[in-house]
Every structure is written in structure tokens, then in C-alpha cells.
Symmetry: C2
Subunit: 243 residues, 2 copies
């Protein structure tokens, strides 16, 4: 059977890839991905064939991967972070219905939530939600409902895709929704360019976050009612100390 | 400054560690952890000093790590999965308040949610919540509220610690709560021993999950209203196909 790997390469730097991901790429003839991610890994895998498609051409990219695998090549489709968190592995199974001869293997990686959490301290130690603010593929009403329910239930919330050119005020809208249940001084954090050049982080209150501009390379963390700042780090306790 | 790494070693097998995690362990004099996790990595890091504490001795383990670092050693505290997801990094910051001379560095890893998702297919492609069913450190009322809100908002839900000797009926209780909002035939999946010997997975409906016994090495995935089964895999669509 032809083998097609869907590989989460982690936040960006080579050191954050797993051994399993590296071995899959080393064992592949062809590595396919969004241009930016291919550029991140290229230098570490000399001699490979690289193929790219631009953003928003996700279906084309998947079809390309299956077609290359059908030629008898071992192929890796790469995604940043984890292939299964807002990544390509779901679409690969859908497109794969037309290519039953190709066996998919999903290789997990470090996603922005856990990669960013490590930069901020320990914000995700207890129950948390991931919510994407992109309404390109999800109705805004559904995003709104998730923000409200997650806030009411006191989850730590990690926001993916908090901003874009067309959605410059979405983080502000999201903060206003979360503040219906979360206090203004809830400890929050933002991390930019996780695991890449220019990595940066900042801790602030939810009220301050509301008035902060972030770009699309930023991941946002909103604490629960127990999250605190310890020596400049964002920490959600699990409770061991009280036991 | 003395260096203390808190390292997520991933689900278990060496291949699922990141290069960064491996380098941290290679560069350490002493590796500290829960006995089971130390046994998982021991053979790959010969010549290191290994120290263990049993389960439920988390604070002691953290203090031990800081005390070893204070002796001038480079120390790694290891956690399974990611150090920041129900892991030790939060407690390390709390205990670390007493050891300002020691610099903490958190090294993220593949957590059971994304590791297990890769085994099941692609269940976490859209917004999801992680909820631990352990009420050792969290009041059950809070867990219940989170299960209900997450279900009402149609999140995919990933359950950690779904069972233990004392909590053999907790998964059943959780399923009953989720079924107030999620349909009985919601696609669910369980994965046991992720990335370890005996790895196994099964896909079923939420109603079937309710009547399924799982052990403490199992991670449970409950789909959203759009999650489906494709060729024996659990897949949550993101919507590209409809664009």
C-alpha cells in the first residue's frame, strides 16, 4: 500500500519536531505543504522533493498529496503545530475516500496551545478549551456561543486565529463576551511567533487584552478564576497545594 | 543560574519525544519523575542519575527537583504527555517561589489529546475542550458544569482520567450529562496506551460509550454534532469542502 504521512511539525523550529516526525520526513520522497511551513523544514531535509500550494488551497494540496502517493512515492504532508488541531488531517481523510489504495498515518506534534503555554508558564494545567475566532468556516453565532459557555463554566480558554486583516476587532468582541462571566482582572497572556524567530510573550488582564492588537501569528490565553501571575509567568493551579 | 527543565516526554515511546526534550535530558545530570515515566526513558539516557517518587507525592517530587538543582546540577523533571496539561509545570512554578536562584524552562510535548487523536483519525480538527473526570482536586459540581456547558456549545470533548478504582462509574455519569445536549449516536472514540505497547482504539456511539468500561490509561473522545466515521476513523470536519 502507498504510504502518506500527515505530519505535525510543531511550532516551527527543528528542535520542536518529534523524532517520529523527523523519521517520516527522512523516509519520504516528497514533502508537501503550505509554502511557509515547507520553508521552515527545507534546510533540514536535503535531497527531498518539495511541493507547495498557497493558503486557502487546502483541498488542492490534499489531492496533490494523494496523487503523488498514487505514483508510488512515499509522501509527507506537513502542517504547523499538530496535524489534527485545526490542521489538515481531517480533510485528508475526507479527500482520501477517493484513494482507498493510500494508507494515511497521522503523526502528532506540539500544537500552539501547549507550545505557547510553555512560553507563558503553565496556563493550561487544568480543564481548557481551544476556540478559533476565524469565522471563515464557522458561523460567528457558534463561536459566540462557545465563548459564552466556556466562560460561564470557568474554563481556561486558548484562542487560535485571534485576528486577521478582515477581523481586526474580533478579539475585542470575544473579550467583551468572555467578560460577561470572567472578571476584568482575569490573568491572560499572549504569545507571538511561538518557537520561531521573534518569539515574544506578554501577560495582562482580560480588560487589557480587550484593548490589545494582535496579529495572526499570536495565540491568546485567557485564565480561569484561579489563574495567577507568579514571577512574570501565567500559572493555573491544579490544587495539589491545598490537598 | 541553576537550570531546571520541566519536560513533556510525549505519550511514552522514545520516537514521540521532541528533539528539544531529548537534548534537555541529554544535557541533564539528574532526571526526576514518577517511577513509570522514568522507566519509559531510562534506557535511552545511560549514565544519568535517576530519581523517582511515587504517585500522589507531587509536591515532594518538585521540592526534590529544586533541591538537586540547588546543588549545582542540571536537572530535568519529566512528565508524560505535555508538562503543562494536567502536568507538573504549574506546581513547579508554585514550589519555585522558594527557590529564586533556579531558572525553570518548560519543554512542551505531545499530550494524550493530540497523540490519541492521531490514532483515532482526526477528531480534534475543530474547537474542543479537555476535561479531567478526576475529582481528587476539583469539586464534582465544577466538572459537571463543564461537561454540560461544553456539550451545549457543541464542543468536541476529550476526557482525561475517565476512570479509576474509586471512580468506576464516572464515565457513565459524564455520558449521561453530555447526552442532555449531545445525541445518543454522536461519534465517540477511546484510545488506550497511546504510543505504548498495547496501543488500542475503538470507535462507538455516545450511547455505547456510556456502557463501556475503560481504565486509567484510556483517553476518551466525544465528537461534536458534525463528527463522523470515515473508513473506521473518527473525523471532525472543519468545513473546507463546503466553501
Amino acid at each position: 500500500m502507498n504510504k502518506l504521512y500527515v505530519v505535525g511539525i510543531g511550532p516551527g523550529e527543528y528542535e520542536q519536531m518529534t523524532v517520529r516526525a523527523i523519521n517520516a520526513l527522512k523516509g519520504s520522497d516528497t514533502i508537501i505543504g503550505y509554502t511557509v511551513y515547507v520553508d521552515l523544514v527545507k534546510e533540514h531535509f536535503p535531497g527531498k522533493e518539495f511541493m507547495t500550494t498557497p493558503m486557502k488551497k487546502e483541498v488542492d494540496r490534499c489531492v496533490m498529496a494523494f496523487q503523488e502517493a498514487m505514483k508510488g512515492k512515499t509522501v509527507s504532508m506537513i502542517c504547523s503545530g499538530d496535524a489534527g488541531v485545526y490542521g489538515m488531517s481531517g480533510l485528508m481523510y475526507e479527500v482520501g475516500k477517493d484513494y482507498p489504495q493510500v494508507e494515511l498515518e497521522i503523526i502528532p506534534g506540539v500544537t500552539a496551545a501547549t507550545g505557547g503555554a510553555a512560553v507563558l508558564g503553565a496556563p493550561l494545567i487544568h480543564d481548557f478549551c481551544l476556540i478559533s475566532l476565524s469565522d471563515l468556516l464557522t458561523p460567528w453565532e457558534k463561536i459566540e456561543s462557545r465563548l459564552l459557555h466556556a466562560s460561564e463554566a470557568d474554563f481556561v480558554i486558548c484562542l487560535y486565529n485571534p485576528s486577521s486583516k478582515k477581523r481586526h476587532d474580533y478579539l475585542m468582541k470575544a473579550c467583551d463576551l468572555m467578560m460577561r462571566y470572567k472578571k476584568e482582572d482575569t490573568v491572560c497572556g499572549i504569545v507571538g511567533n511561538i518557537g520561531r524567530e521573534g518569539e515574544n510573550m506578554k501577560i495582562m488582564t482580560l480588560k487589557e487584552l480587550r484593548n490589545t492588537s494582535v496579529d495572526m501569528f499570536t495565540t491568546v490565553f485567557v485564565g480561569n478564576s484561579q489563574t495567577k501571575e507568579i514571577n512574570g509567568k501565567m500559572v493555573t493551579p491544579r490544587g495539589y497545594r491545598d490537598v
